[in-house]
């Protein structure tokens, strides 16, 4: 099977302090005290290697702060790895925030067009998509009112509808699963599952293990920025809960 995303020994570090006066102060202090210096940067991901194949649905789980979102961001190009390479083929779409660029003083329609263009859709493409967006968000009569008059649920509905209007080749989902009121939650969840089913390849970060079990082919368990285990969903979730031992050779690329 073809590899569509190749994460090759990727490390991502974030600076902890700003260069400048601080670093000079540290050096000065170091001359007098021989204490070990605190690290200047935080390594969020360490030597992550992953091979994601065409048609695969990969889940990523782990505790808060283990680097799940950073990994998705590195894959989608938001952060350049400090070490290693991410290579991919196909158009990658990260579904993270769903109200990017939203501006209170613009109408719902204008915001939809703006968001659409941020997602890379041309004006003509948005003209075509607009009917579907309005229908799915059920905001027909509000589309020409300023966004500041929307409730937060309505805003989320609009954002979700725009963000999911197009079926991407590679879909990365960061926790955006259900928004709005109960009824819309159901439909948005349905739509995500539909997108997952139709997308060529999906990487999904989530805490809803039930859903992950249903849709994922493989799950990656991250711990402190390292891959603790990769494998079949049921097994990895057991490992996460500490009810099973991780398969030791975690970096093996065996297909589950």
């Amino acid at each position: 099977m073809t590899t569509v995303i190749d994460v090759d020994e990727v490390s991502v570090t974030f600076p902890l302090s700003r260069p400048g006066l601080n670093s000079i102060k540290r050096k000065m202090a170091n001359m007098f005290t021989n204490k070990e210096l605190k690290p200047l940067q935080r390594t969020v991901l360490t030597d992550i290697s992953l091979n994601i194949k065409q048609g695969e649905v990969l889940g990523i789980i782990g505790r808060n702060g283990c680097g799940k979102s950073t990994l998705l961001r590195a894959i989608s190009g938001i952060y350049r790895p400090s070490k290693g390479l991410v290579r991919s083929c196909g158009q990658i779409f990260l579904l993270a925030g769903i109200r990017i660029g939203f501006t209170g003083n613009l109408t719902g329609r204008e915001n939809a067009y703006l968001y659409g263009s941020i997602l890379g859709h041309s004006r003509e493409r948005m003209d075509e998509l607009m009917a579907g967006i309005i229908e799915f968000s059920e905001l027909e009569e509000y589309m020409d009112m300023p966004l500041r008059t929307y409730s937060s649920g309505m805003t989320a509905r609009l954002g979700f509808s725009v963000a999911t209007a197009v079926q991407p080749e590679i879909l990365l989902i960061d926790e955006v699963l259900a928004v709005g009121d109960q009824e819309f939650k159901e439909r948005s969840k349905e739509r995500i599952l539909e997108m997952v089913a139709n997308a060529g390849t999906v990487v999904i970060v989530s805490h809803s293990f039930g859903m992950l079990k249903n849709v994922c082919d493989r799950i990656v368990l991250l711990e402190n920025g390292c891959i603790k285990d990769v494998g079949k969903p049921e097994h990895i979730i057991e490992v996460y809960h500490g009810r099973a031992e991780p398969s030791l050779n975690s970096s093996s690329e065996e297909k589950g």
């Binding site: 073809t2 989608s76 952060y79 390479l85 083929c89 990658i92 925030g97 613009l106």
Partner: protein
């Protein structure tokens, strides 16, 4: 680590390619062309939201420089007895041009730090933020330039090709603001001091550049100062704007025009290179 593609079948492209210094301008240009639609939408948004929730709307784009010019007219013409007949229109043009430069510059410098939320959620070339800031300011400024029409009629100023000076003056200011802004935006994401410093610089520059005075107002006894004043690359565009309105002959020597244009283009080139080479480090600080 080898960079060889082990998979022969997949044409995997590297995410976040890092162009070399020489390739940076081409990379920059390609990013603009590929994201035309997004840039246009951002510019449209910025132009609209600035005035949408106000009663007078776009009238403010005209009213603000007009009121400010009124204040300087009062100070210089009535109190200080400045005799130049065209002084009100000179100062009006000066204020509009300087506001354009200052807002574009400060907006581009803060372009990464202001858009931290968006940068963390979606990837697109980050130079677009600075570009759209300058673009939307250029549109607002062009609108506010309409205020000179009644003045042209009132003073019976000539109408003709000299209006092209306006385009030249605005273009040089825009290129300079974008260039310096791109150069400093990554640094400002790391050290917010840059924005504070440049807020001061643009305020000081308001007085040190010929905004509420013109080169013509320098007394002959101090003409030795002229060469120092012209070291400020904004003098040429400001004077171009004046000539664009009153139709007077452009009196600054060609070498200074070349200096100013060269300064603008060099800062753009340098700005593009610095931005493309360092923005990926800077976004990790926001």
């Amino acid at each position: 680590m080898t960079e060889m593609t082990t998979q022969s079948e997949g044409e995997l492209g590297v995410m976040y390619p890092s162009p070399s210094i020489l390739a940076s301008p081409i990379h920059f240009y390609r990013n603009i062309v590929q994201n035309k639609s997004m840039i246009a939408n951002f510019v449209r948004r910025d132009v609209r939201i600035g005035y949408r929730n106000s009663l007078l709307g776009y009238v403010w784009t005209v009213l603000q420089p007009l009121l400010l010019a009124g204040v300087y007219y009062f100070v210089f013409t009535i109190i200080a007895d400045q005799e130049e007949e065209l002084y009100p229109i000179w100062v009006l043009i000066g204020v509009i041009t300087w506001q354009f430069f200052a807002r574009s510059l400060n907006g581009s410098i803060t372009s990464i730090s202001r858009n931290a939320n968006m940068i963390k959620l979606i990837y697109f070339p980050r130079e677009i933020f600075a570009l759209t800031t300058v673009g939307s300011n250029a549109i607002i400024t062009s609108l506010s330039l309409l205020v000179i029409i009644p003045f042209i009629l009132y003073y019976d100023l000539p109408i003709g090709l000299h209006f092209l000076w306006l385009l030249a003056g605005l273009s040089i200011s825009a290129v300079m603001a974008l260039g310096i802004g791109l150069m400093l935006a990554p640094l400002n994401a790391v050290h917010g001091d840059i924005a504070h410093l440049f807020q001061f610089i643009t305020k000081a520059g308001f007085f040190l550049s010929p905004v509420m005075w013109t080169l013509r107002m320098i007394p002959a006894s101090r003409s030795d100062m002229l060469n120092y004043i012209l070291l400020n690359p904004m003098v040429v565009p400001l004077e171009m704007m004046r000539c664009g309105v009153d139709g007077s002959e452009f009196q600054i020597e060609g070498v200074w025009i070349a200096y100013s244009i060269g300064f603008a283009l060099a800062s753009l080139l340098l700005g593009v290179i610095i931005f493309i080479q360092s923005e990926w480090k800077a976004v990790k600080y926001i």
